[in-house]
Amino acid sequence: MSHPEHKDDIGAKLGMWLFLFTELLLFGGLFLLYAVYLKRYPHEFATGGTQLNWVLGSANTAILLTSSLCAAMALTALQRHEMRRAMALLGATIFCAAGFMVIKYVEWSAKIGHGIYPGSEHLKAGPPGESIFFSLYFLSTGIHGLHVLIGAILLAWITVKIKSGEVNGDNYILLENGALYWHLVDLIWIFIFPLYYLIL
């Protein structure tokens, strides 16, 4: 219709944050379950945790932190009208995301190869708490991985928009919101990492 294109960056950012709150609470439900079952099965959770590869987990943490840095720097670059730099940094972010997913894939397939996956015979035979631990692990990292994927696609789309000039140094709210989403993905991982990989 003929709305004179109405722009409200503060409003857009407010909307994005509100959406991030919902994401936070979505994962909150899983953290709630984690807390309850950790209380009930501290031992099984500890043995479950030792079976995860903390080196790969740490590597992924570093990768995600780096990707977050790139995303934040991309925004800074865009605000300074350095379009090429911004696109390069976004490329780096997406590259990190891909690295993250590869490592995740390696981890998951190792676990599944050992017969550890939700509903597997191996877990059914083991102590109950352990099957809970791994079910939660797969759900949390799975849903988180899905968010990594969505975030990467979002950033790629924004890169295209920067290239076409639609998103630029004077109109960067889209990138700002995209970066916010990406940081949220990082934020969630900051909690998943110690809870699943380190508490043993």
Binding site: K7, D9, I10, K13, L14, W17, L18, F21, L24, L25, G28, F31, L32, A35, V36, L38, K39, R40, W54, S58, T61, A62, L65, T66, S68, L69, A71, A72, M73, T76, Q79, R80, I173, E176, A179, L180, H183, D186, L187, I190, F191, F193, P194, L195, L198, I199, L200
Partner: protein
């Protein structure tokens, strides 16, 4: 238009370094035997890290009061959901 605030690359890099150090620290303290404090320590560090990401990477430090309050509200809500559930879990 929102008032533009540009965070310098230097600052971002600094924060990134701190985050990496904190990650190493978390790994380190969970390798030594601290008993129940381990969970506590690891989560405290995670909260600090999250705070840094929110404040600097996500520019919360430069936002107005409103967003901060709302973020606080969301976090408190989550805390309450978990907290009240524990009235059941702890006393069953």
């Amino acid at each position: 238009m929102s008032e533009q605030h540009i965070v310098s690359n230097k600052k971002l890099t600094c924060i990134w370094l701190i985050l990496l150090v904190l990650t190493t620290l978390t790994v380190a303290i969970t390798r030594v035997d601290l008993g129940g404090y381990k969970v506590f320590g690891a989560l405290t560090i995670a909260c600090v890290k999250a705070g840094l990401v929110i404040a600097v990477f996500m520019h919360m430090k430069y936002e107005g009061k409103l967003l901060r309050w709302l973020l606080f509200l969301a976090l408190v809500t989550l805390a309450i959901f978990i907290g009240l559930t524990f009235f059941d879990v702890l006393y069953r």
